[in-house]
């Protein structure tokens, strides 16, 4: 147990002393996760709304595919993105391998089905009376979409939180696409994996505390928004 206690103490020291390696991993994590969340929300919310709101041929099959993608293994996404952005891949010319942009692309692919599927479920659960009410109050198409999304805002927040949790904690994509390069593409999760393998529990625990704190802060903020 001593090494755990020592780990906690070391963790506090690393954070207070602004250890460069630790803070670099924290910043990289925040940058890629924020970027991938913005992209997946930007694409996933409208896609989920369309999928949940409208009936069309093949909707059921699409939902099944999307639900399957909810449990997409991160290493599979990493492999797929790696194949596409490696120098021999179709997007090799953009030189995205071992960059934070490459990780963000992979994490967007990971988060998109989560945001879309949960948004679709939330929108499908909208009271049919809402549309009737909006139409009878003179709402146009744009008003109907925005008001419906606003009415289910707490459900959409849940979608965002779930996706963020998955993006923040994944290792596979960051490791395969980012390469775990110190001060460059090393994220909190890849750093924890590396430090633990090296037997440096304190560093691992420090980063673990940061990861949990970020998740906690995100949930506290959303809880505050819900109250408002």
């Amino acid at each position: 147990m001593d090494f755990l206690v020592a780990g906690f103490i070391k963790a506090v020291e690393l954070l207070i002393n602004f250890d460069q390696g630790t803070w670099s991993a924290i910043c990289a994590t925040l940058r890629v996760s924020t970027c991938s969340m913005l992209l997946s929300l930007g694409a996933g919310l409208p896609a989920g709304f369309l999928l949940g709101y409208f009936d069309f041929k093949g909707k059921r099959a699409l939902r099944t595919v999307l639900d399957t993608l909810l449990s997409l293994p991160t290493v599979s996404v990493g492999l797929l993105v790696y194949a596409f952005i490696a120098s021999r891949g179709p997007l090799g010319q953009f030189e995205l391998l071992f960059t934070l942009t490459g990780i963000a692309i992979g994490q967007t692919i990971l988060a998109f089905p989560i945001v879309t599927a949960i948004t679709a479920s939330v929108v499908e659960g909208i009271d049919p009376e809402l549309k009737l009410t909006l139409l009878s109050l003179g709402a146009g198409k744009k008003n109907i979409i925005t008001t419906c999304l606003w009415e289910v805002r707490y459900g959409l927040l849940a979608a965002a939180v779930t996706a963020y949790g998955r993006v923040l904690t994944e290792v596979g994509i960051s490791m395969m696409v980012g390469g775990n390069i110190k001060y460059h593409t090393r994220t909190i999760t890849t750093a924890i994996a590396l430090e633990t393998n090296k037997g440096l529990f304190a560093d691992g625990i420090a980063l673990g505390i940061v990861l949990i704190s970020i998740a906690f802060a995100v949930n506290i903020s959303l809880s505050f928004l819900r109250k408002k």
Binding site: T133, L135, S136, L137
Partner: protein, 343 residues
Amino acid sequence: MSEISYKLNHIQHYYGDKKVLDIDGLQICRGSITGLTGPNGSGKSTLLKIMAFALKPTHGQVWLNGRKEFVLSPRVRSKVTLLTQKPYLLKRSVFDNIAYGLKIRKDMGDIENRVKDALKSVGLAHGDFARRQWHELSGGEAQRVAMAARLVLQPEVLLLDEPVASVDTKSAEQIRKASLAARKNWGCTLIIASHDLPWLYECSDTRISIFQGQIFSTGTENIIPPPYDLSQKNHPVKWLGQNEKSEHIHLAPGKKNNKFAIIQKEKIHIRLEKEKANGWENQITGQITSMVMEKNAELIMTTIQAKDFFIDISLSPDQAENLKLLPGKKIILMFSSRDIEWR
């Protein structure tokens, strides 16, 4: 002649394979109050949704003010509004719920006072209610807020679908008052679907009955609803009551598919005792359930129940007085099967 507000042409609507509405033609005059009656599932709500341009009919056209209109047409969005039995309140404050329609029209002038007036018209005090959240209202208050959200728009047409069916007496009274004030204040055309027959008889200029998706009358006819016993080809009958096969109505021969038995109100007579050899095959025992003065007609709309069958007839005050008719009194309904038509 009054200007026509609505014109419905050959409206048919299906839910899946089931035809729920089949209306050849219907016209509503501007500024009038139309009462829509009919049992649950008869097509009232579907008709009102189509008239509110919230539902596209499977076939047929709806004309408003002489123009063929459709769902989401910008011309109707500011003119027609519908209040349902259980309206949805947006997850925001009472003020924001009422102001929503004005905000999406970008009609924000003097919004505070307009919302205040709308709340007042349904008997809710602005100070007490404007800042309340949607979940802090009782069922009756929520219905009144929903009504205020429609009234603040000063619509040209207000469609009310069972607006007082699930609210307390006070809220029901406020909603009734507010709807009539809308007609008085800005000439709003009202179309009201309700089981509250006394209210409809009292306030409506025209009454329409709807049964199994078809419009049958403008308040002058009674439908004798199916099922009909056609086992004796030339002597179809309608049994009254659920199980016992005792009292029945002799119907006219000539029943065809999908036709209903109809009798004009004026062909039905009331007596206090059965009579022999008077030429009326049908002498049905019934009980008066309600008597309401009809608007502008000086007649008393009398509803009589004979087992599970309800029938309306119009009586003059003299007739009612001579027979000493009162709600609860048992009477005999008399009519001839020859006066029943299949339509």
